[in-house]
């Protein structure tokens, strides 16, 4: 009885629904078609290549575009770091170790054409110019500074029971010499060259840069993994990107408000044949002796983003103390190549970091060239380099297709003096070297650009840095997150690890079938896929909660990840 009644009810409901539907259908529609929907020529949407590879490229390009759209320096940097909670695996380039045969790798990774200049000869009498008078004036000051530095350092070494090792000694002495020489040079020149009064001097600044390099052979595990998937099998041996992080600490760096003039025209800089002739270091950088590590992408040109800092590097003094550790068996040109490699790496990294504060990064191309000058010295031997940064695109297919190249030109090391005699006198002072050094100071940063031209990828005149935001909470969050990423502070909980016994008894041989599956590899969680924002939010105590103690919405601090 009961079931029958239930059946009737259902049938009645169904009938009602059908009737309703039919009545809706039957009603006459008001046919109004906008004319705008039709055009004379049919406009079809773009036909997208839906293959796996091109979809991947498409998402990457979209991500790069998203980075470009972001208004502030800090947000761009956080955005680059968003995909990895534990940081990227990066090749560790630094200024304390240049392995044997590092020059081809350096040229490939920085897309740099190296021009070796001949050592300039002493000028003959008839070619004297106004610089000669300055050199003559600076000469005595510099000689005195050199003698003073050597004497004081030698005197101080007596006090130590165990003197530091040779590399450390060279670094300490060179630091003194570079500071004194820089001081003398500025004193002599600043009267005649006004731009030297506006430079900012960084003492042992922190220079860091992050970029992606394409055209490197894939590692074995990537090949194996791709070969295991039918849709990736054909691309298994395609080159893949390597991420690079440079870390350096020069003795001294000079910055100015304006840019140095360029020495290569845009036509010369865009040369695909030249770009394709660049050395290509296809094998892993670890084969040379470089190491890899996990860290966040950091770009620092020695200071934090600020409103009115001198933003353009003029001159940096790099250390060559580690050259002492190179075996002599590497050949005659080895030292020279190491110096070239160091000059290219440090100049590229410093310029990249500066460009980063103007909205450019390894995925967003420069719109104007950047220049800097680099000196590598141990007090006695000085090598001078000039660098012009034209492009930052080295990742992915750009390594083959990008017509732009960067340029570096420099000389072999030249002695500033032959030796310091036992009486503390400087022997055989080389005016020619001093002259070249002073020329670097004299070159005035003259290129001025409008703000729009300088910062094309920023959020306009009112929004360039996180400090420009109106929302105080957002400012604080961005500033804090940006510096937290740059600090390389270890994560509170270490990266999850598969222990050896787990590999044997849980992964390779499933011997513990009854045990609860709690570990990440048993629950299909890839810790590397954890993104930067996947963390517990900060709890706001009730007493400090905006909107009163009972406000449930304000329990956690807001995050402003880009």
């Amino acid at each position: 009885m009961l079931t029958l009644r239930r059946g009737e009810q259902l049938r009645a409901r169904l009938n009602a629904a059908c009737r309703r539907y039919l009545s809706v259908k039957a009603e006459p529609k008001a046919v109004t078609v906008a004319d705008a929907e039709y055009t004379a020529e049919p406009e079809y949407p773009v036909i997208r290549d839906l293959s796996y590879k091109s979809r991947k490229l498409q998402t990457a390009a979209e991500w790069h575009e998203q980075i470009r759209q972001l208004p502030t320096v800090e947000e761009k940097m956080i955005k680059v770091n968003m995909p990895r909670y534990y940081g990227y695996k990066v090749v560790d380039l630094n200024d304390t170790k240049i392995p044997y045969n590092a020059l081809p790798l350096t040229q490939h990774y920085t897309r740099t054409v190296l021009e070796e200049l001949p050592t300039p000869q002493a000028k003959t009498e008839d070619k004297k110019d106004d610089l000669d008078a300055t050199v003559k004036m600076a000469r005595d000051d510099i000689i005195e500074a050199l003698e003073y530095a050597h004497d004081v350092y030698k005197h101080q070494l007596q006090l130590m029971a165990t003197p530091p090792d040779a590399v450390k000694r060279e670094q300490q002495l060179t630091q003194i010499i570079v500071e004194l020489v820089n001081r003398s040079a500025l004193q002599v020149l600043s009267a005649d060259y006004g731009h030297l009064n506006e430079v900012e001097i960084d003492y042992n600044p922190r220079h860091e840069a992050f970029w992606a390099v394409g055209g490197v052979d894939p590692p074995k595990n990537v090949v194996k993994s791709k070969e295991g998937r039918p849709w990736q099998k054909d691309d298994a041996h395609d080159s893949c990107d390597r991420l690079v992080q440079y870390t350096g600490q020069p003795y001294l760096a000079l910055r100015h408000r304006h840019q140095l003039p360029t020495w290569k025209s845009p036509e010369e800089s865009e040369n695909l044949t030249l770009a394709q002739q660049l050395p290509r270091f296809k094998i892993d950088a670890r084969t040379l002796g470089y190491s890899t590590k996990y860290q966040h992408a950091v770009n620092v040109p020695g200071y934090w983003p600020s409103a009115n800092a001198p933003n353009f590097g003029m001159l940096s003094f790099q250390s060559r103390a580690h050259l002492q550790l190179r075996p002599k068996s590497c050949g005659e040109r080895d030292d020279l190549e190491a110096l070239h490699a160091l000059a290219i790496q440090s100049s590229y990294a410093w310029l990249l970091a500066q460009a980063n504060y103007h909205g450019f990064n390894t995925y967003n191309e420069l719109t104007y060239p950047w220049n800097t000058q680099t000196v590598i010295t141990n007090g006695r031997e000085w090598s001078f380099y000039e660098y012009q940064l034209n492009t930052l695109l080295v990742h992915g297919a750009y390594v083959d297709t990008n017509p732009r190249v960067n340029f570096c030109r420099g000389t072999a090391p030249q002695p500033l003096y032959a030796e310091i005699s036992t009486e503390g006198k400087c022997v055989d002072f080389n005016d020619n070297t001093l002259r070249q050094l002073l020329e670097l100071y004299i070159r005035a940063p003259s290129i001025r650009r409008t703000a729009d031209e300088l910062l094309p990828y920023m959020g306009g005149p009112a929004l360039r840095r996180a400090a420009d935001y109106e929302n105080a909470e957002q400012r604080e969050f961005l500033e804090h997150t940006f510096k937290h990423l740059a600090s390389k502070r270890p994560r509170h909980l270490e990266l999850p690890e598969v222990y050896m016994w787990e590999k044997i008894y849980k992964i390779d041989n499933k011997t513990r079938a009854l045990e609860a599956r709690r570990r990440f590899f048993e629950r299909d969680i890839n810790p590397w896929r954890r993104t930067l924002d996947q963390h517990d939010k900060v709890y706001v105590p009730k007493a400090e909660r905006p909107g009163g103690r009972k406000n449930r919405e304000g329990r956690f601090k807001k995050t402003y990840y880009p």
């Binding site: 000051d141 005195e144 500074a145 003698e147 003073y148 004497d151 004081v152 005197h155 101080q156 006090l159 165990t162 630091q175 003194i176 500071e179 004194l180 001081r183 004193q187 002599v188 600043s190 009267a191 009064n197 900012e200 001097i201 960084d202 003492y203 042992n204 600044p205 922190r206 620092v300 040109p301 020695g302 200071y303 934090w304 600020s306 009115n308 800092a309 503390g424 996180a466 400090a467 935001y469 105080a472 909470e473 957002q474 400012r475 604080e476 969050f477 961005l478 500033e479 804090h480 510096k483 740059a486 600090s487 390389k488 502070r489």
Partner: protein, 409 residues
């Protein structure tokens, strides 16, 4: 889940080990057999005595990569029978400035020498200089990108609470940068005629040994920057009189630890043969995480002043002994004047020391002079406030004084 069960299931060897440990702790029960045997005159020996011969172990002298530290006893090459009071960089005088005065036989004058006072009041600076100085403060205190682990911060009311460790510019670097940048600014103002007569040197050490009223005093102090000059500073004109403060019941060497190991040599960082070797100004940094009282309490203001004076005194004394010989301890023919800047990056203390005598005995009528004013703060606070750089209470006075010091001759 019970841990014991699990262990048993997985590792029976662990249980055997535990069993062995428990059994190994058993004490043999006293049976009275030994006493009976002794009564019968039979010697009782343990099995250990019979089976294991006694071996004498001798220390083998192993050559290690790191040389062994020399034992600090009478065998030490620098051991002296008379103990000496050692004053180093991480210590301050308990009595502060009064103790420093008694120790170094110095009278205090609460102003700078007239010539420097004039230079300070005459100094006129454009707005550009003022802005540059403020930029220097920003770039050394906030905008420098060094990030090292900073010392632990403790809350006074909650000492057990562990705050997150901050990463930022180290104290030493902050001070180095601010001094370098201020000096760069000053040298731009001074022009080449003055700057060629000065030389700058970082991280120098002064060392000297002095006796006072039968007490030996050894000072090893560092100057974080030494400005040397090609001409010695002129002695301050005028005669100054004053009384030494009374420290009773304290003795003037209180809180300076005694050591038997010390060296008697005198060290001034620049050889006297060099043209630009005269001390002009020393700059020393004060980091409260390194410098403190030997009993651990915080450094008071007068102790801070005392430290500046001692630094100036030791630099002057080391120079005087370098010129006149290590054993020299009487009145100087030509007084040595040295200026001292003592700073923690925010607070600046300036002083001028004139060394008239190295005879520090309390009955000596010639006194040394210490000209100084109270310390001045360059700013109240310089930090990021809600994501923006912020400076509060900027004061240009320290820069003016530093400039006057640099230009004085």
């Amino acid at each position: 889940m019970r841990l014991t069960n699990k262990l048993y299931a997985q590792h029976i060897g662990w249980h055997f080990k535990k069993h062995w440990q428990v059994q190994g702790r058993r004490v043999p029960r006293e049976t009275g057999a030994a006493a009976e045997l002794l009564k019968m005159g039979i010697q009782v020996k343990t099995p250990d005595e019979l089976l294991n011969d006694k071996k004498e172990f001798r220390l083998v002298d192993i050559v290690e990569t790191v040389p062994k530290p020399i034992v600090e006893d009478e065998t030490h090459p620098n051991w002296h029978t008379t103990a000496c009071h050692m004053f180093k960089d991480n210590n301050v005088l308990l009595g502060g400035l009064p103790q420093a005065q008694v120790l170094t036989n110095t009278i205090e004058i609460n102003s700078f020498p007239q010539q420097i006072e004039d230079a300070i009041s005459n100094g006129q600076y454009s707005k550009v200089v003022d802005r540059n100085v403020q930029n220097a403060i920003f770039s050394s205190h906030l905008l420098d990108a060094q990030q090292v682990k900073l010392p632990k911060v403790k809350l006074i009311d909650r000492p057990a609470y562990n705050l997150p460790r901050l990463y930022g510019i180290s104290h030493e670097r902050r001070n180095r940068l601010i001094i370098n940048k201020l000096l760069f600014e000053i040298e731009k103002l001074a022009g080449r005629s003055v700057t060629v007569r000065r030389k700058l040197m970082d991280n120098v050490t002064f060392q000297t040994l002095i006796s006072k009223d039968n007490d030996l005093l050894s000072f090893i102090l560092s100057g974080d920057k030494l400005i040397s000059s090609s001409r010695a500073l002129d002695a301050v004109k005028g005669k100054f009189n004053g009384e030494l403060p009374d420290l009773y019941p304290m003795k003037c060497v209180v809180s300076i630890p005694k050591r038997h190991i010390y060296t008697e040599n005198n060290f001034y960082p620049i050889r006297s043969e060099i043209s630009c070797s005269h001390p002009h100004t020393i700059v020393s940094f004060f980091d409260k995480t390194i410098v403190g009282n030997i009993h651990g309490s915080d450094v008071s203001k007068t102790q801070f002043y005392g430290r500046s004076m001692l630094k100036a005194f030791v630099a002057a004394a080391a120079r005087a002994k370098q010129i006149n010989g290590v054993t020299f301890c009487s009145d100087l023919q030509k007084p040595i004047v040295i200026q001292c800047v003592h700073t923690d990056g925010r607070e600046f203390h300036f002083g001028v020391f004139q060394l008239n005598t190295l005879n520090l005995d309390s009955n000596n009528t010639t006194k040394n002079y210490w000209f100084h004013r109270g310390s001045i703060e360059m700013f109240n606070d310089c930090s990021y406030k809600t994501g923006r750089p912020y400076i509060d209470g900027y004061n240009s006075e320290p820069f003016r004084i530093l400039n006057a010091f640099y230009n004085s001759s």
